[in-house]
């Protein structure tokens, strides 16, 4: 069975380490915040200028001056810091953020990612995505393995305009966990009940399959 959005987030949360500074993109990545393991602490960075992002506010806490990078109202944790956009991207581009999690339209076996522009559709902009993929120490991409038509989003070469090159290290899809290295997708884990065959079939790029592929623990 392919994973739910929540299950993808749970699997991504296993990539977190104690003391990590983490930037979570919009969509499934945002859900990861709900599944931080109890025995570790992470600090969330929001690229509009907040280190130590907290949960959404209660009705009483809502403050127009406190938003996250998705423009949603938000809170700050105790010990948070708030700063300007240049300093925020100094953190990101200077390699100080340990992990960034973001969605994508396509990823290819070189670690290239396309996530911001579909020619022919209205382009809204890349926001901070290009900075994040160029700057973060580790990048995990979350997406469905294939699109609604069943076409693979794991390609030998991205077809859409790129967000960044040679940057994606790990991918968590609804079907599998994969590492990108040496010009190929390396299958690490499969979703419970999903066969290696199905993953192979839905991966258009080069897939390296080890002898034993464990099921994810989600």
């Amino acid at each position: 069975m392919s994973l739910s959005r929540e299950q993808i987030a749970i699997r991504v949360s296993q990539e977190l380490k104690d003391g990590y500074y983490v930037n979570l993109g919009i969509g499934i990545p945002t859900l990861v915040a709900n599944y931080v393991p109890d025995d570790i602490e992470v600090m969330l960075q929001s690229e509009n200028g907040l280190l130590g992002m907290g949960p959404y506010p209660t009705e009483e806490e809502v403050d127009a001056d406190m938003i996250n990078a998705g423009k949603e109202t938000v809170t700050a944790v105790t010990g948070a810091a708030i700063f300007n956009s240049a300093d925020s991207f100094a953190m990101i581009r200077g390699g100080h953020v340990d992990l960034t999690v973001l969605g994508a339209f396509e990823v290819d076996q070189q670690g290239n990612i396309a996530s911001w522009m579909i020619p022919g559709k209205l382009v809204k902009g890349m926001g901070g995505a290009m900075d994040l993929v160029a700057g973060a120490k580790n990048i995990v991409v979350t997406m469905t393995h294939a699109n609604k038509k069943g076409e693979s989003k794991m390609l030998s070469e991205c077809t859409l305009p790129l967000t960044g090159v040679n940057c994606v290290k790990k991918i968590v899809t609804d079907l599998a966990v994969l590492e990108v290295k040496d010009g190929a997708f390396h299958l690490l884990e499969r979703a419970p009940g999903v066969s290696v065959d199905e993953i192979q079939q839905k991966t258009a790029g080069k897939l390296v399959v080890p002898e034993f592929v464990p099921e994810m623990n989600v």
């Binding site: 509009n48 806490e61 996250n68 109202t73 708030i82 990101i92 581009r93 809204k124 995505a129």
Partner: protein, 232 residues
Amino acid sequence: MAGFDKVVDNYEQAMQGLQDGMTLIAGGFGLCGIPEGLIAEIKRMNTRELTVVSNNCGVDDFGLGILLEGQQIKKIIASYVGENSIFEKQAIEGTLDVELTPQGTLAEKMRAGGAGIPAFYTATGFGTPVAEGKEVREFDGRPYIMEESITGEFAIVKAWKADRYGNLVYRDTAMNFNPMAATAGKITVAEVEEIVEPGELDPCHIHTQGIFVDRVIKGNFEKRIERRVTRS
């Protein structure tokens, strides 16, 4: 002597000198931390052919979006736009020129502009459409692209508190692009919630120093929220 008293009484004085065809740099992220009254004054002035540099372009009836109705904006340099239908229409029809720039590169371009740095190298955008036509150079084995800085005839920012010397302090994430925008304008105008006496702001905790600010005006802010999300 006028000395360093930068407080002006009305919006006309605040935006005096803004002319058709100028480049206007605006602080703000989404609808957060935007100089609402200064934008309204630009609409009233009906200044046209503006090049606007701002992370976003507001919504249909608020923020920089209100300058789109009367087609006052010729070109926008931003990282994320299209939260409003007039924008979409003008962009598709080609009456509005849109230059998309990565958010961090945009912030750094403003900072560099204010700091006398005409260009810098960044890995952001290498190998993407953003890199088209830009110089690529390797440092330490990694490719980077050269990005040029941005300055403008005017910068408009929103701060929380100001003193009459133009020292500014921002509140929470309403800070965002405002400090960089403030440095990059030939004339910089700050619209603030409160004007305090010199000395009331802690000297070590002033976000924008008065040297960057030419005019200060006290505004009234609606502070519209774009995405109100709450927990129970």
